[in-house]
Structure formats: structure tokens, C-alpha cells
Amino acid sequence: MTAYIIRRLFATLPVMAVVTVFVFFLLRLAPGDPAAIIAGDDATAADLEAVRAKLGLNLPIHEQFGLWIWRLAQGDLGVSIFSDLPVTRLIAQRVEPTLALTLSTLFVAVSLAIPVGVIAAWQARKLADRAVMVFAVLGFAIPGFLAAYILIWIFAVKLQLLPVQGYRPIGQGFWPFVEGLILPSIALGVTYMALIARITRASMLEVLSQDYIRTANSKGLATKRVLLLHALKNAAVPIVTVIGIGIALLISGVVITETVFNIPGLGRLTVDAVLKHDYPIVQGLIMVFAAAKVLVNLMIDISYAFLDPRIRY
């Protein structure tokens, strides 16, 4: 297993290299000029050129790439074109809100969707199953931002139970931390819940039709025991795979959710940096996202071995 993990970690290096090259050149090919934003509406061509020169944007593209790679090799992601602050500091400021939102969404989604999926499979083609399927269809159909606005209107503006926006670090108190995450987690988690619930149901239905489940039932085991110990464990691999895919989806989902709920996380930072053509930030963020994705996939693959003894690396 250790050799496998080391092998996989080494395999991420070419992936990250490809990401590095693509990100750098795609950003430069995209239309827009940060110098024009800084110089303002009244800037002359000479003003623009002067700003470009100061930012190093007038250098040939291969030189800019070389400089970036050189700094990256030293662990330096550069500084923001606009705020002049280190990209590492800007990313570090935003990690906690995104991590909190992602984990709370995962918690809400997994803790609700798996039981619901199990019940739907157990009660297949009955009322509970149909209700779950209706929820799953709606969950897929309603865009996250629309769910967010509806939740804000009902629970924040009308009932005034929860805040509209913002993020309070856990250092400011547990309840302020939690109350700011409830609506964003539900809004972000709805699609995710629907996905996990459907996969859980489908996977459980397949397992429940197996001979060993019939045997377990014949032995007179309690339904709860059959469902949770015999069926769910054997249905877990596809569910875990979907949770892993879902984490990747969450990374893109947080962009919208963080914008609507004004959470200062990595998603918002990405959107702002892209709109402002703040190249060093976008480059740094994509490296972080790519690394996170690779690591999540690795963790999912490793978890297979624990869930299914037949899988060995």
C-alpha cells in the first residue's frame, strides 16, 4: 500500500506540470489586460505601457513563464497585481471559509442522503421511495443559486432566523460560525444530496437482491442489521466514488454559493481574480485546486481497499 501511495504521489507530478503550462498560457491567451484596469478610463497608450512595464507584462511570454516557474520552484506563487500582497497570504486567508463550507455541506449531504437512499431501497416502489425520487429529481432540477435566493428570502429576510451573508470564523463563537453556514450548506448540498441518495438507492437495490442478503433475512436477522451491516457495507464502493466526484463538484459549486452568500472563500477569490485578470492569483489557485483534486482521488482509491477486501494494490 505504501509503495502504491508513493507511486501515485509521483504520478501527480506530470499532471501538475501539464496544469501549470495550460493555466499559464490559457490565461495569457484570454482577452483582457490588468494594466488597463489599473490605468483607468482616461489612460493614454503611454500610461498603459508604463503600467505594463512595471508589472512585467511587457516581457515576452516565454520569459514571463520562465520567471513564474523559477519562483514556483522556490515555493513562491508571486504577488497579486492589484493588492501587491503575496498570493500565498491571499489563498491562506480564504482556505478556512471554503473548508468550513465544503465540510459542512459534505456533512449535511452525506448524513441525510445515505439514510434516505437506504430507506428508499428498502421501501422500493412504495410511498417513501417515490418521495425520495421526487426529491432527487427536484434536487437536480433546481439550480443552486435559485435555491440560495429562496432560502435567503424565507429564512433570513422574512423569518429573520439566520443571516443573509458573511462568514464568522469559529474563533468568534460556535453559534455565529454555525448559523452562517446553515443556509449555504443546504443550498450547495441539495444537488449533492440528490446525487448521493440516488446512487445509494441504486447500489442498495442491487445488493439487496443478492443471495447472501436472502440468507441473512432467512436466518432471522433484524432488518436494521441486514441493511446496515450486510447490504450498506457492500454497496459502499459506488457511494464513496460518487462522494469523491462530489467533492470535485463542490469545488466548482462553492464559486456560486460563496458569491450568493458572500463567503470570502477560494471560490470568490477565483472569480474576482479571473474578472480582474489577476494572473498570479488565478495561477496559484488552480495549482491548489488541482492538487486538492489529485489528493481527494488518491484518498478515495485508498478507501476502496478498506471497504472491499477483494481490492488490493
Binding site: P31, D41, V164, P264
Partner: protein, 535 residues
């Protein structure tokens, strides 16, 4: 007995310590008066000279002070300056700083700081560059007094120093002011009413300011008016919270999570007007926005004045304003290039702007030699006002039978491409649309878009010596009558030459929690946050 008492005291002390530890850090903040404001953008740049971004200047005016500040009527009033003298020949200005002025780090403000700051500003800002083209030299007389010697008796020295729109002439420490004007300063230390807590700054999310303990307001408690008057900090702390989504910002204001919302979307105004505790406040014509269509004077067909004038007949301002704003309460048809509602507004040349006649437009274009070649228009796709205005123009031109090459792109790309002087077929352009502020457009010298300085001018490069002569003459005019006469002549000439085509002016009100705030300061160009008090 003593032991029990001591033990009780110890237990109480322990309990108090535990409670203090358990209390969230926010509890201390609850004692402070905090203004939570959502502005039109986030503070991303802390140098108001390096960029023209309005938000950087709002930040700048919280942290820094200026020698003069223009009031809502654009009259310059002393700020950091205690007394000043203008020589009889109007060539020497002697400024003396007020007593006791200090930067937020506790160091004294000196003449050297003022001179270095003005010199840096004079290399970067359009108004500053113009002023410094008339400045012979500046010299410090002592720590508090300095002189500005002019080559010619330029009449707009004080107005320029007190300007209220972009790139305000703020006074920095000499150390920062010596930074190259194309490099951003690293520190934000000024002598203004607030100071920035840089360690709490999250670019793209929040910027925090607290009262500057070293700030010395103007004596006499003068009522604040735009940049003039006493800048009394009405709250202990200001949090500029950036909420990108305007619907979320509106909900946060209604819910009381923020106190002040600088520019709510037009669509949300009816909801905000009905919301309990929320009030809308119009900021006036001078704080408005002007729409303008810029034609490229370098290339056919608009290198011909007749073709440019033909475009006037395609413009019905109401069509544009309805598309951008919708509610007539917030827009104004303005057949002039100088801000309607401002002291210099006039009707010189405006008759040319009132004849909406698409057939005549096409006929004039043909007479000017237009044979149906594609006209390249830079169509912005991501701007809340320029995008709909561009669509209205495209429709009007197509309906008139004009062949268009519509190049759709984001605003950043328009900003880049409009600087290209090549012919449209080689990456240049014929038309783009932009906006400008009402404050700048109210003054012939500050209104850079009315200029016609050929290669040295703004994109579109209109070229007319008479226009430049009139702008210079305005700067040297001594009486109000003379200024009005020149402004009228200038507008007439600029409309004849079609430096740009106006399509109206509009202003959106700001929204705030009237149940919590008082003392909102009227402004001209930049939102003013000092003076606002929490009830």
C-alpha cells in the same frame, strides 16, 4: 473564615477569567460604533494615485487628507492648509499647513511631504499633469510653509488641489510619495480621519478602518460638504464589506446586517423604498454618470466631420436611458457636453443633438463618402450600463441601414482594444461606448473627454486646435461671466466637431438604514463616510 473568603475570591476570579476567555473576540467590538458599508467595489488597491479606480480614492480619502477640498458646489475650501496667499501677479501661491497635523504613525506632516505628494500626483493624474505643466517650481519655506511658483497665472490651482473625483491630490509621507508614480505604495499611512487596519484587510472581501488618533479636524466644526468642512469621524470603526451579488447586498441591508449600500441596482429600488428602516438618498446631478459614444477620428468614415455629425441623427436619448435606467426619476435627457444641472451647463450647439432622423443620418453618411463598408463597434458584454446602451446603438444603426461589424468582448478587452490606433480591419475600431462622471464633466478643464488634443488626447483622438485653445482660455479666465462665455463657446465647438455623442445622464441613489444612521454627507463624485453617525 479568611480561608473561605479567599477561596471564594479566587473562585470568582477564576470564573471571571474563564468567562473572559470564553467570550468571543467580537464582544469587545460590540461596544464600538461600527459602520458596515457596502460600496460599489472592493478595496483592492491602497494607492489612490497609482490607479484611477473610484474605490481606491474612497479608501484614500478615509486615510489621507488633502490641502484643499471642493464642496458640493465645487468651490475649493482649505483643508490641511491653515492659510494661503496668492501673489498679485497670480504666479506664486504660498501655503501654510495647519498647526499640529500628524500622520497616523504620529509623525508630523511637513512641507516636504506635501511637495513630494503633489509632485507624484502631478505626474500621474490628468488634472495634476495639466496643473504641473504650468508649475515652474515648488519649494519649502519652513516645515509648515511652502510655495508653488507658476510660469503662467493658471486659474485652477485650488480647484485642482481640491478635486473630488478620481486620483485625488492626497498628501502622503514623503517616504511613500517618493515612490515611482507607476508603482503602488506599500503603506497606507495618512493624516486623514481614519486609518486602515492592514492586518485585517482581506482584498476582495473586507477592509477595516478605525479612527486615526492623530487626526486634527478643521476647527469650528464646519459642516461637511463633499471634501470640504470638518471631517469628524462619526463612528469608531468602518468596515467596507464587498458583496459582489447585488441581490444579497440588498437583502443584507433589509435584514440589518449592513448599514449603508452605496449603489443599489435600479431594479431593486422599489423594494428598498418599501423596506422598513431603509431610506434612499439622491446624490444629485453632479454625482451622476454621463453616457457617451466615442467615434474614432483617425479612420473612415468618421475622419470626416459630416459622417460624425450624421450620427447625431440616430440618437434618441430616451431610448438609451430607458434601456439603462428605466425609471425616469433617476435619469435626465441632456443635450450638452457639460453636466446638465451644473453651474456651467448651457445650450451651446445643443440644437444639433435634438434632430432624431435616421434617414437623414444615412443620407449624410453617404454624402460623406460612406459606401456601406462595415463599421466596427466594440460591444461590451459585461457592463451594467454600457452593454444595454451599446445594444440600443447597434439596433439604431442597423435599422438605419448601416453595415456593422459588431465585436463582442468583455469591458477589459474594450479598454485594451480602444487604445489601438490601427485601422479597424487591423485590430482597431470605429465606435465604442463609455461613461464619465458628472463632476469632471462640469468643468471644461477637468472634463478630459471634451478635449481634442490629437495624439495626446483620449481614445478616438479628436483633433481641433480651437477646442484646446478654449480649454486653456478657461483655465486662465478670471471672472464667472468670462468662464461661462468660454464654456458655451467650447461646448458649441465640441458638438460641431463631435468629440463625442452624449446619450443622457443618470444617477442612482444610495440606500442606508435611516433607523441607525444620521449625518450622511452630500457628495460630488466620491462617497464620503466621515460625518456619518450611528444613532
Amino acid at each position: 473564615m479568611t480561608t473561605n473568603f479567599t477561596s471564594r475570591i479566587a473562585r470568582a476570579a477564576l470564573a471571571a477569567a474563564a468567562l473572559a476567555l470564553a467570550a468571543p473576540p467580537g464582544a469587545a467590538l460590540a461596544q464600538e460604533k461600527v459602520l458596515k458599508a457596502v460600496l460599489h467595489a472592493d478595496v483592492r488597491v491602497i494607492d489612490p494615485i497609482w490607479t484611477t479606480q473610484t474605490i481606491a480614492n474612497i479608501h484614500g480619502m478615509l486615510v489621507y487628507d488633502t490641502l484643499f477640498g471642493n464642496d458640493v458646489n465645487m468651490v475649493p475650501k482649505p483643508q490641511m492648509v491653515g492659510k494661503y496667499e496668492i501673489s498679485a501677479d497670480k504666479l506664486t501661491y504660498t501655503f501654510t499647513l495647519r498647526d499640529g497635523l500628524k500622520f497616523s504613525d504620529g509623525s508630523a506632516v511637513t512641507s516636504k511631504d506635501a511637495i513630494a505628494s503633489l509632485q507624484r500626483w502631478g505626474k500621474k493624474d490628468g488634472v495634476g499633469i495639466r496643473l504641473f505643466s504650468f508649475v515652474d517650481k515648488m519649494e519649502a519655506v519652513d516645515d509648515k510653509t511652502f510655495k508653488m511658483m507658476l510660469k503662467q497665472p493658471y486659474g485652477m490651482v485650488l480647484e485642482s488641489l481640491g478635486k473630488t473625483n478620481s486620483s485625488v491630490a492626497v498628501i502622503m509621507r514623503e517616504k511613500e510619495a517618493q515612490t515611482d508614480h507607476n508603482t503602488q505604495v506599500k503603506e497606507s499611512i495618512g493624516s486623514g480621519p481614519f486609518m486602515m487596519l492592514k492586518d485585517q484587510w482581506v482584498p476582495g472581501s473586507k477592509a477595516v478602518y478605525v479612527k486615526n488618533p492623530h487626526y486634527v479636524p478643521r476647527p469650528g466644526n464646519e459642516p461637511p460638504s463633499s471634501f470640504a468642512g470638518s471631517k469628524i469621524a462619526g463612528v469608531d470603526r468602518i468596515e467596507l464589506i464587498w458583496i459582489a451579488d447585488s441581490q444579497t447586498a440588498m437583502s443584507a441591508l433589509i435584514n440589518g446586517e449592513v448599514d449603508f449600500y452605496e449603489n443599489p441596482g435600479i431594479d431593486f429600488l422599489p423594494i428598498l423604498a418599501k423596506a422598513r428602516g431603509v431610506k434612499l438618498m439622491k446624490t444629485g446631478d453632479l454625482d451622476g454618470t454621463h453616457g457617451m459614444i466615442r467615434l474614432n477620428h483617425l479612420h473612415p468614415p468618421f475622419d470626416n466631420v459630416k459622417a460624425r455629425q450624421a450620427m447625431y441623427h440616430l440618437i434618441n436619448q430616451e431610448d438609451f436611458l430607458r434601456a439603462i435606467v428605466g425609471d425616469a426619476e433617476y435619469y435626465r435627457v441632456c443635450h450638452g457636453l457639460i453636466t446638465c444641472g451644473s453651474p456651467l451647463a448651457n445650450d451651446g450647439g445643443s440644437a444639433m443633438l435634438k434632430d432624431y432622423n435616421p434617414k437623414k443620418a444615412l443620407q449624410l453618411l453617404k454624402e460623406a463618402g460612406y459606401k456601406g463598408e462595415p463599421i466596427t463597434i466594440l460591444a461590451t458584454t459585461d457592463h451594467n450600463t454600457i452593454t444595454p446602451a451599446t445594444q440600443v446603438l447597434i439596433q439604431a444603426m442597423r435599422e438605419a441601414g448601416i453595415n456593422l461589424d459588431v465585436q463582442s468582448m468583455d469591458w477589459g478587452s474594450v479598454v485594451s482594444r480602444r487604445a489601438k490606433k490601427e485601422p479597424p480591419a487591423q485590430g482597431g475600431w470605429n465606435i465604442f461606448i463609455t461613461t464619465t462622471g458628472g463632476v469632471g464633466s462640469a468643468n471644461p478643464v477637468l472634463h478630459t473627454w471634451i478635449g481634442a488634443a490629437c495624439d495626446k488626447g483620449l481614445f478616438g483622438w479628436p483633433c481641433d486646435a480651437k477646442i484646446e485653445e478654449l480649454r486653456n482660455a478657461y483655465a486662465f479666465a478670471q471672472t464667472d461671466e468670462e468662464k461661462k462665455k468660454i464654456a458655451r463657446e467650447l461646448q458649441t465647438r465640441a458638438i460641431e466637431q463631435v468629440v463625442y455623442i452624449p446619450f443622457g445622464q443618470w444617477s442612482t441613489p444610495l440606500a442606508y438604514r435611516a433607523d441607525r444612521l444620521e449625518g450622511i454627507v452630500p457628495n460630488t463624485g466620491l462617497t464620503v463616510l466621515w460625518g456619518i453617525r450611528k444613532k
